[in-house]
């Protein structure tokens, strides 16, 4: 697709703010989430979890639990398929431990009983004998010579010799000559940064309802970002044919990347198979914290050189990511995103993926990018301070543009970073005076976005309405934008279209809702499926008129004659064509099945004012503005919502949220009281500016918006807090104790 094929104006439905189609369901309590489904004869399951960070499983005695009348099935790792290798083995090992438990909370066994209480009681009776092993939970400590080895032989060929076996992936990229670049700099700043693991913090715990017979046929209802992926993984680990497992995605109560992984569904399926009853399995909040994916924690070294006028001459970064007891921490993405906003002649970045005795990290909104931005943008801010330069002007001077060689290699296509910086510079917030004790922070952020396998079908009804089936779970209102895009193409009203998240038996494979791909990829698929349906409608009109298909075009919901036949026949509205479709060739269904590959990358610039109480170390966010390139906002309210949500999560990550492990390797704050996400009284209103620089890879120019919004906040807030406190904060979260410590250190010189 070329830029010229992108429709950028003349929209009738796209860009408006209709009520979401699932609005009434959501405000009345009618919407069915993961834990809201029940089945006749249903059992309830509970999982037994390791209390040790690292231990050998010597024996699992299930006899006491099995002796209870209420208990209908008990299972361990032995009930799963064997012979899995590589990534599939990792997934299974994380679902239920084999020979060793690898982190506090690692599942060991499970039980199904006639009530939730009976299941919980029975789980307590399962007696597991452990041999406790030495553990490590800190990224830097996991890399030193005498660190306990999580799993020998996990490292891939990329890892240079001489590194600890816990270092399992190595990334190195860049271009130019950084030494020459540093030699050309007037000022070089080098600093080290750490960020703690944070959890995606979705309010809905993982939940599912499973039914599987000994014939291998299964029905599964669950909250997930990708039910096709759930199907694939359940088939592998239970040894079943994928097509025999029909998965229906429930409404999903938040995911943010954390519900791209599979934890409990195969357990429920196996318990169901063993008991011959439907089984419901719902995680507790503590289980969610202990045993689902938080982010990686990081340790990073950054060195940047700048001239007196603000030109960045070289950038260098080392990024160590702790990703839990399995390979997969996004150290490569962290490295690749770190300097992406800037056009650098000399740049070099190294990433290490490090294993430790923590739960396997899962994707969290632009995985890896926010941490990198925190480190890099903090150093740029410090350079601006020391050189007396305006932070937005410096970023504008160095900003990546179309044609810039990106820090990760290729040239950028059309991008909107400069536009976000210009909009931030001219925003009233940037000119507003700061109050007493306040600091202002700026940061840019970058994310790749994603396309992925996508299948959509659009069936027209006899009455001229349309049923759109998509395979990407709706996490934040995407059914509204799908209806808008279909309405735009078909020329019928928004509320004449119903969008359904179809089950795995209904559509071809759809990749999970991740990588900010839904409005981009399912949107593109919806537009193309609608165009496919329109093509068929035009064909029916052409046949009726006895003219060529090419002499018919679609406008305002009607087939119209064109060219030499223009004006010869009255336009035929969609509903007239569908009313007779059975007699004119059969049902009309538009399709799209492909892997769209034009997800445009996206940039944002955030401005934040923060106030620091130097007595208590408490920070309050006083004012916040998000400026981000959305390409094209299909439903501006939900685009703003993504901007605001990303900023709010970033505020939590920057100021409060962290996984706290004790010396014993156990998670100490596995509840919302001690793992404190932002509450309403913590936050100000969050201003948004939607910049629209069309993505050449989407028919309407859409770029994904969900993830980029969490990239700048960590750094923007760190820059504001450092300004307000008068001391540079290099470790997240900037909780009151850390701020007081930094102030004390500064005072003691």
């Amino acid at each position: 697709m070329s830029e010229n094929d992108v429709k950028t104006n003349g929209f009738k439905v796209v860009g408006t703010r209709p009520n979401r189609p699932d609005g009434t369901d959501k405000v009345t309590g009618r919407a069915k989430f993961g834990a809201d489904m029940a089945a006749p004869g249903m059992l309830h399951a509970a999982i037994v979890r390791s209390p040790h960070a690292h231990a050998k499983i010597i024996k699992i005695d299930t006899s006491k639990a099995e002796a209870l009348a209420d208990v209908k099935a008990v299972m361990t790792r032995a009930d799963f398929a064997d012979g899995l290798t590589g990534g599939d083995w990792d997934v299974l090992e994380n679902i239920m431990a084999g020979e060793k438990t690898l982190y506090d909370g690692h599942a060991v066994a499970a039980v199904a009983a006639t009530s939730p209480l009976a299941a919980r009681d029975a789980a307590k009776l399962i007696d597991v004998t452990y041999e406790v092993l030495p553990h490590v939970t800190d990224v830097d400590k996991a890399m030193v010579t005498d660190a306990p080895i999580i799993r020998a032989g996990t490292a891939d060929a990329s890892v240079p010799e001489g590194l600890h076996p816990n270092v399992v992936r190595y990334h190195e990229s860049g271009h130019g000559d950084v030494e020459q670049g540093f030699a050309d700099a007037d000022l070089i700043i080098e600093d080290s940064f750490k960020t703690e693991a944070t959890h995606q913090g979705y309010i809905e715990p993982h939940a599912c309802l499973a039914q599987m017979g000994n014939d291998g046929r299964a029905e599964l209802w669950c909250c997930t970002q990708g039910h096709f992926n759930v199907q694939k993984i359940c088939a592998k680990v239970t040894g079943t044919d994928a097509s025999q497992i029909r998965v229906t995605a429930s409404e999903i109560g938040g995911g943010f990347g954390g519900k791209t992984a599979v934890f409990i569904e195969p357990v429920a399926l196996i318990l169901s198979r063993k008991s011959n009853r439907p089984v419901k399995l719902v995680m507790s909040r503590a289980e969610v914290f202990r045993a689902t994916g938080p982010t990686a924690s990081t340790s990073m070294d950054i060195k940047i050189g700048m001239t007196k006028t603000g030109k960045i001459t070289a950038g260098q970064g080392v990024f160590r990511l702790q990703g839990g007891a399995f390979p997969g921490a996004p150290s490569d993405l962290t490295a690749m995103c770190a300097f992406a906003p800037y056009a650098l002649e000399n740049v070099h970045q190294v990433g290490y993926d490090v294993m430790s005795n923590r739960p396997k990290q899962a994707a969290y909104r632009a995985p890896g990018s926010p941490m990198a931005a925190f480190a890099v943008e903090s150093v740029i801010d410090e350079l601006c301070n020391k050189l007396g330069l305006d932070p937005i002007e410096v970023r504008l001077m160095n900003a990546s543009k179309q044609g810039t060689k990106a820090s990760f290699g290729p040239k950028f296509d059309r991008i909107g970073l400069v536009e976000t910086l210009e909009a931030a510079k001219s925003h009233a917030h940037y000119a507003a005076p700061l109050g007493e004790g306040e600091g202002r922070g700026i940061s840019c952020g970058f994310w790749f976005n994603h396309g992925g396998e996508t299948a959509v079908s659009l069936a027209l009804s006899e009455d001229g309405t349309a049923a759109l089936s998509v395979g990407t779970p709706d996490i934040g209102g995407s059914r509204a934008s799908m209806c808008q895009m279909a309405a735009e193409e078909l020329g019928i009203p928004y509320d004449k279209i119903r969008t359904t998240i179809a089950d795995t038996a209904t559509l071809g494979y759809n990749e999970v809702s991740h990588g900010s791909r839904v409005t981009y990829a399912s949107g593109l698929a919806t537009i193309k499926a609608a165009r496919d349906a329109v093509d068929k409608l035009c064909g029916r009109a052409a046949a009726k008129w006895g003219i060529d298909r090419d002499a018919v075009f679609w406008e305002d919901g009607c087939a119209k004659p064109s060219g030499p036949n223009a004006g010869d026949f009255d336009p035929i509205p969609l509903a007239q064509l569908t009313a007779r479709m059975g007699a004119t060739g059969g049902p009309i269904v538009g399709h799209f099945e492909a892997t769209p590959e034009g997800a445009g990358v996206s940039f944002a610039t955030h401005i934040v004012d923060a106030k620091v109480d130097k007595e208590t170390g408490q920070t309050s966010v006083v004012r916040y503005t998000v400026v981000q390139d959305a390409g094209k906002a299909i439903h501006p309210s939900y685009v703003e919502g993504q901007f605001q949500g990303g900023a709010a999560q970033g505020i939590g990550w920057a100021l409060n949220e962290e996984y706290i492990y004790g010396e014993d390797g156990r998670l100490q704050n596995s509840n919302f009281l001690d793992y404190r996400i932002p509450v309403a009284s913590d936050l100000p209103m969050i201003d948004t500016v939607i910049v629209e620089v069309p993505n050449p890879g989407h028919p309407y120019g859409v770029r994904g918006v969900g993830e980029t919004s969490i990239c700048p906040p960590l750094a923007a807030i760190a820059n504001a807090v450092s300004g307000a406190a008068g001391v540079r904060l290099t470790q997240l979260p900037m909780s009151p104790p850390r701020i007081l410590e930094a102030l004390d250190q500064q005072a003691s010189g």
Binding site: S115, G201, I203
Partner: protein, 159 residues
């Protein structure tokens, strides 16, 4: 273990159920009465997704035992709309896009109704503190607060 017989009123309807002495009011609403509007986000009273009213008082139903409902009157999200008519607050939440995933919405609606009954003219700060016990991870609260303020303004105009 023998179960407890409880007679209570839920959204105006007299209701009876049997429950285990350890079951919470939330368990009872969801598992025994099939009222799944109230959600369990934490089970420890930290997230507010299970908010209901108990004799008019806003509570986390995960912190109340089912047996405690004896003789009380319970209000849940399912009771907010009047027949097919949505409450103005519900309308406003849809109009303002004050929800993304919607899992916190039932609790926030129950909590907000409770606020507006006590204080028809709350300031932004009062709303933020009242709702500080209702976690929302998606929205950053901005559109929720605006929806509540606008609902309150409309209700004041109407009265």
């Amino acid at each position: 273990m023998s179960k407890i017989h409880v007679t209570t009123t839920v959204n105006g309807d007299e209701t009876e159920f049997l429950c285990d002495p350890r079951e919470t009011l939330l368990d009872v609403l969801r598992d025994r009465l099939s009222l799944t509007g109230a959600k369990e986000g934490c089970g420890t009273g930290d997230c507010g997704a299970c908010s209901v009213t108990l004799d008019g008082r806003l509570v986390c139903s995960c912190l109340v035992l089912g047996a405690e409902a004896e003789g009380k009157s319970i209000g849940t999200v399912e009771g907010i709309a009047q027949g097919e008519e949505l409450d103005p607050l519900q309308e406003k939440f849809i109009e303002y896009a004050a929800l993304q995933c919607g899992i916190c919405t039932p609790g926030i609606l129950v909590a907000t109704k409770s606020l507006l009954e006590k204080n028809p003219d709350p300031s932004e700060t009062e709303i933020r503190y009242w709702l500080a016990g209702n976690l929302c991870r998606c929205t950053g609260y901005d559109k929720i607060i605006r929806a509540v303020m606008d609902t309150a303004a409309d209700l004041r105009k109407a009265s």
